[in-house]
């Protein structure tokens, strides 16, 4: 967020105004007032749905089915944390921990494996390197759907269908192309002199990787880590196919309640809100890395 427009903001208005005389300035003033109001409305438009979810999660099913959440402003006494205590008592906590057990190992694996490959692509010479990297670029947008059926069959044959390691490996594989791409592009920017000095000293490659490349790559690794974490935390499709009721993360647990939306709105709203707390905290705490990662992944 910070990178974007801070410098640009005042330029347009300041330079435009003085030359235009009074009428122009009045137009600018009114225009800027209109823009302010418009932006407030748009901001509300983006904020209100989430607020709605939060309020709904704090009211009972009966109250929610009887009246809109906005009546909370006149009837704050109807708020209750009952939905949350019911949810926690219902075994939802186990799916929370499943989400953690899937997300954390995946993120660590993707970072580790992708960083190694990215270092090789960036700073090692081997035959077919450029072609191989083009394959990685090509794999960037392969739809996950392509692997659902083959891997389900493979997991069935191996007996790991429905297990957490199976879900983690699937996520890791599909996280790699982006991770390798992002890190390789960052690693090629490391000054050659640093690596050459280390190699001249006779340091083994794994040592250069651990003590030079990895520490220097921290900003990119942080961005990647946040993205990877959020993708896996928020995934539903892979969980839907490869997790069972024992290993299911929150998204799958909630999805199974969708059929009776009206009567399950207590579980769904509180569960959905719990599931987005962690991503939101991460997002607000690390928004700088989040945005940097997004930029590096798409434009620069």
């Amino acid at each position: 967020m910070t990178t974007a427009t801070a410098t640009a903001a005042p330029a347009g208005l300041q330079t435009g105004a003085p030359r235009r005389g009074l009428a122009g300035r009045i137009v600018d003033r009114v225009g800027s007032g209109v823009i302010q109001v418009l932006m407030v409305l748009l901001g509300l438009f983006w904020l209100v749905p989430t607020i709605g979810l939060f309020v709904v999660s704090l009211r009972t099913v009966d109250v929610n089915n009887a009246e809109g959440w906005w009546t909370v402003f006149t009837k704050p006494a109807e708020l209750t944390i009952k939905n949350y205590s019911d949810l926690l008592a219902s075994g939802f906590t186990s799916s929370f921990w499943n989400t953690v057990a899937i997300t954390v190992p995946t993120t660590v694996l993707v970072i580790g494996i992708a960083a190694m490959a990215a270092y090789a692509f960036a700073w090692m010479e081997f035959k077919g390197r450029d072609t191989l990297f083009l394959v990685v670029v090509g794999l960037l947008i392969v739809p996950i759907q392509i692997a659902l059926i083959p891997i389900a069959k493979m997991y069935g044959d191996m007996g790991i269908f429905g297990s957490i390691p199976g879900v983690v490996l699937f996520h890791t594989a599909f996280g790699l192309p982006f991770a390798i791409f992002l890190l390789r592009n960052f690693f090629v920017g490391i000054p050659a002199s640093l690596l050459e000095a280390a190699r001249m000293d006779g340091a083994p490659e794994w040592k250069i990787f651990v003590s030079v490349v990895f520490p220097l790559g921290k900003p990119a690794i942080a961005s990647l880590g946040i993205f990877q974490f959020l993708w896996v935390w928020n995934d539903m499709l892979i969980a839907l196919v490869f997790a069972n009721t024992e290993s299911q993360p929150m998204t799958k647990a909630l999805q199974s309640q969708m059929r009776q939306f009206g009567s399950n709105v207590d579980i769904l709203s509180s569960g959905a809100f719990l599931s987005l707390i962690v991503p939101l905290i991460l997002f607000f705490a690390f928004q700088r890395y989040f945005v940097q990662g997004m930029m590096a992944g798409s434009v620069k």
Binding site: M1, A9, T15, G43, V137, A192, M236
Partner: protein
């Protein structure tokens, strides 16, 4: 967030790479690093884990799916391209493809345009960072949670779903709100009113000081407004006045054509005073059903309740019904992705040299001309990146459709990625057709894959 941001990734070269000259990557300096570089064996060791995972989980499945798509559901009978024929002939599948087309045409344009508007407008406000955080926030939220959020927003009842609540409020601000479908006057010799042209009129002309009683029956309980209060029999006073009420005493009792205790007024009724076929005055009933024409010239009038009172009240749109479901889900998609577009475009905007804009302004260009002739052309690479990313994301859209469309409407809302899951895992159990759909999806994104590779080669040549 299952749709990734990585689509058109290599579209624009990284600045470091192109500008860093001296400390360039190995592409420029293979000879200097070769002597010191490790042996190929070491490189293979570094690449091996990634190669194994990508080979087994990504590349092999493409080959397997291609092969599997040529067989039937059981996997034993070879059907050739039969599964692909099904995709393009089956009526349900064609709906699915049509929906994907709508998605691809509408969603990227809306997201990119909105992103551009937001990016430009945030330059004009002081609280730009706050605004960006708010609009960008949905990116961190799972599409599952976003789906739940929009199921609530699109709830059909205007007193529960915020979308219809806003629509009905806006609608009611501009036109009479209260509707009493199927309500009718109590007719008969005793009654002073009669039905006419779908409305209600007094049988005789009335004048000021002569209270008008308009008894109505057949008001559906659902149509009875919550704010209705017990009806009051009109008492004299200035001007032409009267009461419109529900002539029905709950629990029995009460006399017809008389305002009895426990009978409720009908608020929000439009009442017209008519003279010689012309509407001379209009009034609206209060919560107790009473009305009074202010400033009406003395004389006798026919009091009329026009037909509009007896139409169903406006209740907003059936967002989650078969007709609107795809636009409704696209709305949720826009909510999720507008922040992405805004942030990328804002970064592009910040990189535009201010001098170019200044020069144009000094030459007398209007803000719109500057925007249209300079800003947008300079932004076009970024706009293209956002646009292409959105196309790829719309092709793969799954979670939002799956969660927001109620199961009864899912056939109408269906998209290829969802159909693939439904056919293979969601009860269909036809892995032949499922594989064909997966390959179809891959073919849809193939042009963008090739585009990525070509750009990357060009920029790293």
């Amino acid at each position: 967030m299952t749709e990734r941001l990585d689509g058109p990734a290599p579209a624009v070269p990284r600045e470091e790479e192109t500008s860093r000259g001296g400390a360039a990557g190995p592409a420029d300096t293979p000879r200097t690093t070769r002597r010191l570089g490790p042996s190929p064996a070491v490189a293979i060791a570094f690449l091996l884990p990634a190669a194994v995972l990508l080979g087994v989980w990504v590349v092999y499945p493409i080959v397997y799916s291609l092969f599997r798509s040529l067989f039937d559901a059981s996997g034993k009978g070879f059907v050739g391209l039969g599964n692909y024929t099904t995709i393009f002939t089956d009526a349900g599948m064609l709906t699915t493809i049509r929906n994907n087309l709508i998605w691809v045409v509408v969603a990227p344009i809306v997201v990119t345009t909105l992103g551009l508007i937001f990016a430009v407008l945030t330059e004009r406000i002081r609280w730009a960072t706050a605004f960006k955080l708010i609009v960008f926030m949905p990116m961190a939220v799972s599409l599952m949670a976003a789906g739940v959020i929009f199921r609530l927003v699109y709830d059909e009842a205007p007193d529960r779903g915020v979308a219809n609540a806003i629509l009905t409020t806006v609608h009611d601000t501009f036109s009479s709100s209260q509707g009493y479908p199927e309500a009718r006057p109590r007719e008969g010799a005793q009654s002073a009113v009669a039905a006419q042209n779908g409305g209600v009129v007094t049988k005789q002309a009335v004048q000021a000081g002569q209270p008008v009683l308009v008894p109505i029956v057949g008001v559906k309980p659902a149509a009875m407004p919550k704010n209705a209060r017990p009806a009051k029999a009109p008492t004299g006073g200035g001007g032409l006045a009267g009461t419109v009420w529900f002539d029905f005493t709950p629990g029995g009792g009460g006399a017809p054509n008389q305002v009895d205790a426990g009978e409720k007024g009908l608020p929000g009724m439009t009442v017209e005073a008519v003279k010689d076929g012309q509407v001379a005055g209009t009034a609206t009933t209060a919560e107790d059903g009473s009305f009074r024409f202010e400033g009406l010239p003395a004389g006798s009038y026919v009091v009329r309740l026009p037909q509009s009172n007896f139409k169903a009240a406006y209740n907003g749109l059936t967002w989650l019904g078969p007709t609107l479901i795809t636009p409704a889900i696209i709305g949720a998609f826009v909510w999720v992705w507008a922040g992405f577009a805004m942030v990328l475009i804002a970064a592009g905007l910040a990189a535009i040299p201010r001098d170019a804009l200044e020069a144009a302004r000094i030459d007398g260009a209007t803000e719109w001309q500057v925007f249209r002739r300079i800003t947008v052309p300079l932004l076009s690479p970024v706009l293209l990146v956002v646009f292409v990313t959105m196309i790829i994301n719309t092709l793969k859209v799954f979670d939002l459709v799956f969660i927001i469309a109620p199961s009864s409407v899912q056939p109408e809302a269906n998209v290829v990625a969802l159909e693939m899951w439904r056919v293979a895992f969601g009860g269909g159990n036809n892995q032949g057709l499922g594989s064909a759909l997966a390959i179809f999806l891959l073919i849809l994104v193939l042009p963008f894959m090739i585009m990525n590779i070509r750009r990357f080669r060009r920029e790293n040549a």
